[in-house]
């Protein structure tokens, strides 16, 4: 799961200030774990074991604990992220609107199954649970952005765009 | 006359060897017949150079085994009586053969040469007397073993044998009354001829009740099923429980020889002894040539039959075995063929017989019939053994004292009445 590649992980000065600012907001040091995990993820795109140890130091807890928290939530990336992470909502509402065909189309186009990455490492396709955009289904999230009311044509266009990138 | 001098020795030898020769055959027959009665194959494994003879070799193997086996003598036995027991058992059972006439008396140049070891005109009584000595073997063995079980076994069987001796003796009285003699050869000779022209004039037909009682008693005397309480190997433990190897074998052989002897006595007293049915001695002597021819001819025929069987057997063996046992049928075939050839040769080149030759042929034929009768009765012994269950001891005693003796007395009475009626009394 974790890549062995070593990355120097540290908080930037700005981050350090921010940490100090929010530290007071949480009565226990542990409370900082999630914000710090988010910071790391925002800065580095993923959370390495070194990062967890760093966070554990900040939060006065054991790395294992941080690890436990990080694995509890699905949004924390414990692997090196890739360029385009396509997350297709596959829960009921979007499903009713045809998310399965969108997913199948994407699998078809990218030549991978849901849960896999393309060989060039640019795309990863995941089927995820409800993203709270049920009214505009089928929808998909690419990294941070929502793409709603999808059709296969729209998907094709988007892929076209990203592929040229 | 030299014949008079050496014939007793020859006859003693013959009388001793005859049962000893029959013994392995008897043991073999016991095993084989029991097997067949029980739907088994019986012994057929031991072989010499692949020759098994349907289990006969097992008897040889037994001998080897019994001799080679360690002789275990318990430490606290009375060694003299302990050794005496088996010796007596074997020895005494051999004695009756000495007075069994093996064939009709030879007449050589006016001298009569009886074909038996001892000539006694009280023959039957002698047999009874000697038989009664058998008890000693049992009693000594049981007592000397210094073992409560064997002692009880000894006492039990002594009581049994003593009891049945009475029946044995009394059953013969009627026959003796008819025969008016105790001499065995005389008794046999009287059994020549026929009754009503059909039945051989054997005592079994004249004295059926006596025969029955005698047979039952002889079973009991020889400790044979269904009266084998003295031994009762598996259940009630007999007098020879402490014996092993050859000592045990002596008892064993003694018993079998006693059976053969008993058969011989029965054959002699009731089944016409050496008498050939419908042919008395004179007739046989006159037709000795014919008899010899028939003998050779039948031997040859038998050999042909055997050859056919053996050839089929050979085929089966070849299919079954890969080892030296395949050899057997061929060897046997060779022997049989040789024998058959000999028989054919004898048939073809039979010389004209002299008077002595005629007598000898007659004696051989008569003896063959005697041995045949003995074997037949031995078979009957075996047959009974593997059919009937054992008596309980009280049943055994009741049978002896309350059934057989009164019946024997009744037989004497009836015989007497019959004799008076038919006016054959003295």
């Amino acid at each position: 799961m974790a890549t062995t590649e070593k990355t120097e992980v540290k908080f930037s000065e700005a981050r350090k200030q921010e940490i100090e600012r929010i530290r007071g907001r949480y009565e226990t040091p542990r409370g900082l774990i999630m914000p710090l995990l988010w910071m790391i993820q925002d800065d580095y795109g993923w959370i390495s074991y070194d990062a967890m140890e760093l966070i554990a130091g900040e939060c006065e807890t054991s790395p294992a604990w941080v690890y436990s928290i990080a694995t509890f939530y699905t949004m924390f990336e414990l692997e090196k992220p890739i360029r385009y992470h396509l997350q297709v909502c596959n829960t009921l509402s979007c499903g009713l609107c045809g998310s399965e065909s969108i997913l199948a189309h994407l699998e078809d186009r990218l030549g991978i199954q849901a849960g896999e990455s393309t060989e060039d490492g640019r795309f990863r396709l995941t089927a995820v649970e409800c993203l709270a955009s049920c009214g505009t289904g089928p929808m998909m999230q690419m990294n941070d952005e929502y793409y709603e009311s999808l059709t296969t044509e729209k998907v094709d266009a988007m892929l076209e765009e990203w592929n040229c990138d | 006359m030299p014949a008079e001098l050496f014939m007793p020795f020859v006859m003693v030898l013959v009388a001793a060897l005859l049962p000893l020769q029959l013994l392995p055959a008897m043991i073999w027959a016991e095993r084989k017949v029991s097997a067949f009665i029980q739907d088994r194959t019986g012994p057929n494994r031991a072989d010499i150079l692949g020759i098994r003879l349907g289990g006969v070799i097992h008897s040889i193997a037994d001998v080897v085994k019994l001799i080679a086996k360690e002789d275990m003598t318990p430490s606290k036995v009375n060694s003299f009586y302990y050794s005496l027991g088996p010796f007596l058992a074997l020895f005494i059972s051999l004695i009756p053969f000495s007075i069994i006439p093996l064939a009709d008396t030879l007449k050589i140049g006016g001298a009569a040469i009886p074909l038996r070891a001892v000539t006694l005109d009280v023959g039957i009584l002698f047999i009874l007397a000697i038989t009664s000595f058998h008890v000693y073997a049992v009693v000594f063995a049981g007592w000397a073993s210094n073992n409560s079980f064997s002692l009880l076994g000894g006492l039990r069987s002594a009581a049994q044998m003593v009891s049945y001796e009475l029946g044995l003796g009394l059953s013969l009285v009627g026959m003796i009354m008819v025969a008016q003699t105790l001499d065995l050869n005389e008794i046999v000779r009287q059994q020549g001829g026929t009754i009503f022209g059909i039945l051989p004039a054997w005592n079994v037909f004249l004295q059926p009740l006596g025969f029955l009682i005698f047979v039952v008693s002889i079973f009991a005397e020889t400790n044979r099923n269904p009266f084998d309480l003295p031994e009762g190997e598996s259940e009630i433990i007999g007098f020879h429980v402490e014996y092993s190897s050859m000592r045990f074998a002596f008892f064993f052989m003694g018993e079998y020889i006693a059976i053969i002897g008993g058969s011989a006595v029965v054959a002699t007293l009731f089944l016409g002894g050496w008498q050939v049915p419908f042919f008395d001695t004179e007739m046989l002597r006159e037709n000795a040539m014919l008899a010899a021819r028939i003998a050779f001819g039948s031997t040859a025929a038998l050999c042909v039959l055997l050859s056919i069987i053996l050839m089929a057997y050979d085929k089966k063996l070849q299919a079954l075995y890969t080892d030296k046992r395949r050899f057997e049928a061929r060897v046997l075939l060779g022997i049989v063929v040789t024998l058959g050839a000999g028989a054919v040769g004898g048939l073809l080149f039979l010389p004209t017989l002299s008077s002595l030759g005629e007598q000898i042929v007659t004696a051989i034929v008569q003896n063959t019939f005697l041995v045949g009768k003995i074997l037949l009765f031995c078979f009957f012994f075996i047959w009974v053994r593997w059919t009937l269950p054992r008596f309980r001891y009280d049943q055994l005693m009741n049978l002896g004292w309350k059934t057989l003796i009164p019946l024997a007395l009744l037989n004497i009475f009836l015989t007497g009445v019959a004799l008076v009626l038919f006016d054959r009394g003295a």
Binding site: - | L120, D121, L125, S132, V135, L155, V162, E165, L182
Partner: protein
């Protein structure tokens, strides 16, 4: 052959008779007595008493002695019984003395028979036929009386042998 047989049989008879009374074990005594009886039977045979020979064997050796031995075993005497029953010195001496005297007396008496030769006897003397002939004629009544005696003995033995008497 006749004298030799006599001497052998005599020697066996006398020797075994002696053994009978000197041996400590009753069973040995019985056995030697049996031997003695057999020898006597043999002597009968040499005396042309064929029938007696057989009867001696049949009745004495075959029946009576078996009975004796049977009783010996039935009683199954232990050492305790056998020890004191051996020969005691004074009694042996006295009885030996009596024996010698008696022997002298009998020897003296049989001297009277010296010279009575044994002539030839007819064929069949002592055989069954001759015995029977006499027995069932001259001695018919004694014979019948003997049968009564035997019957009486039989009854007596049964009575004696019953558990309570």
């Amino acid at each position: 052959m006749g004298p030799l047989l006599f001497w052998i049989l005599s020697a066996v008879a006398v020797g075994s008779a002696l053994a009978t009374i000197v041996q400590r074990s009753p069973l040995s005594s019985a056995l030697t007595l049996t031997l003695c009886l057999v020898a006597v039977a043999g002597l009968f045979a040499t005396l042309s008493a064929d029938f007696l020979f057989v009867i001696q064997l049949l009745v004495y050796a075959g029946a009576v002695m078996v009975l004796v031995i049977y009783v010996i075993m039935l009683l199954n005497l232990g050492d305790r019984e056998l020890k004191p029953l051996g020969l005691s010195r004074p009694r042996t001496f006295v009885s030996g003395l009596v024996g010698i005297l008696l022997l002298a007396l009998l020897a003296r008496a049989q001297a009277g028979a010296a010279g009575i030769s044994m002539g030839d006897v007819p064929d069949g003397f002592g055989g069954v036929r001759s015995i029977a002939g006499t027995l069932f004629t001259s001695y018919l009544y004694p014979f019948e009386i003997v049968s009564v005696l035997l019957m009486a003995a039989l009854v007596g033995v049964v009575v004696l042998a019953m558990k309570r008497f």
